[in-house]
């Protein structure tokens, strides 16, 4: 199975959640996680591979901009249309209160081609929601363990 953590952006809260899910410890210097606030990875639109969990499921983060439920629905339908089992891809939505601000910052940074301020501003926002993200990951782990 492939697990996709889906957020408004794929290089902030979704990426942190995915790293926590595959077994990384919650650290205060979470900005060191590879790919954090990486504008090129975000702009590509492709799912970002981050590693595998204990059950060898491949784990990805993906940004979907404004409408998480729309993209979740499209991914689930596409999986079936392409002839795969519906459970081959598990889409896990990740939301935090300031996700729209992160998305806006990412868009501005992409246009202005700026790097550092976006990195630090994203870090500042994410830091406020680390415990919330960790709690959500716990829920997901319990949910998926129940399924396996």
């Amino acid at each position: 199975m492939k697990i996709i953590f889906l957020g408004t952006t794929g290089v902030h809260h979704a990426l942190i959640a995915a790293y926590l899910y595959i077994g990384n410890k919650l650290e205060s210097n979470f900005q060191k996680y590879p790919g954090f606030a990486d504008l090129d990875k975000e702009a590509s639109g492709y799912p970002i591979f981050l590693g595998s969990d204990k059950s060898e499921n491949m784990v990805y983060a993906l940004g979907c901009e404004t409408d998480i439920s729309l993209v979740k629905k499209a991914i689930e339908q596409l999986t079936v249309i392409m002839g795969s089992q519906s459970d081959e891809i598990k889409v896990v939505p990740i939301s935090i209160p300031d996700e729209r601000i992160l998305l806006t910052l990412t868009r501005i940074a992409s246009i202005t081609n700026a790097g550092n301020w976006h990195f630090w501003a994203s870090g500042f926002i994410i830091k406020r929601y680390l415990s919330k993200i960790a709690a959500r990951v716990k829920e997901i782990q319990n949910e998926l363990t129940g399924q396996n």
Partner: protein, 156 residues
Amino acid sequence: MIIIYHCYGGSHSSVTAAAIHLGLIGKDKPPTNEELMAIPYFDNTTDNDFGSIRFIGFDEYNNSVFVMGKKSQADRFSHVLMGIGELLGKKEEILAVNTMGRVNWSMKLGGFTSRRVGLAFLGRPLLLKGTTKAFWDLVSLVEMTRLKILNKVKTQ
């Protein structure tokens, strides 16, 4: 192979492109209003259809042609869909085509008035005029798509 034409609502530019691709309307002259209205799903979708990948038909090479409404997702949405194909090990079997670049203001305003506001009698004439105006651009997009498909098939 799976081809997905996508636009904001999945009811105007994407379905017109799909209809051109499948030969439901000819590509030698702009369609009449009646021909446009006869295209499946043309100006006939609801909010529930956002995110739904809807089948329109098979082309002459047995490729499946779909349409989808993706709201304001940017051009990178094509990569999202193709990335999922890659994850499933079927990278070469999917082609996502954004038709938003071929949409003119008449289509945007007419489509908004007809679908979002719900005043079809007001928006539809403007929408039909805009779609007729965008027809050659959509034909060109479909032709480029068909070439891409041929290239993909050749490289397989």
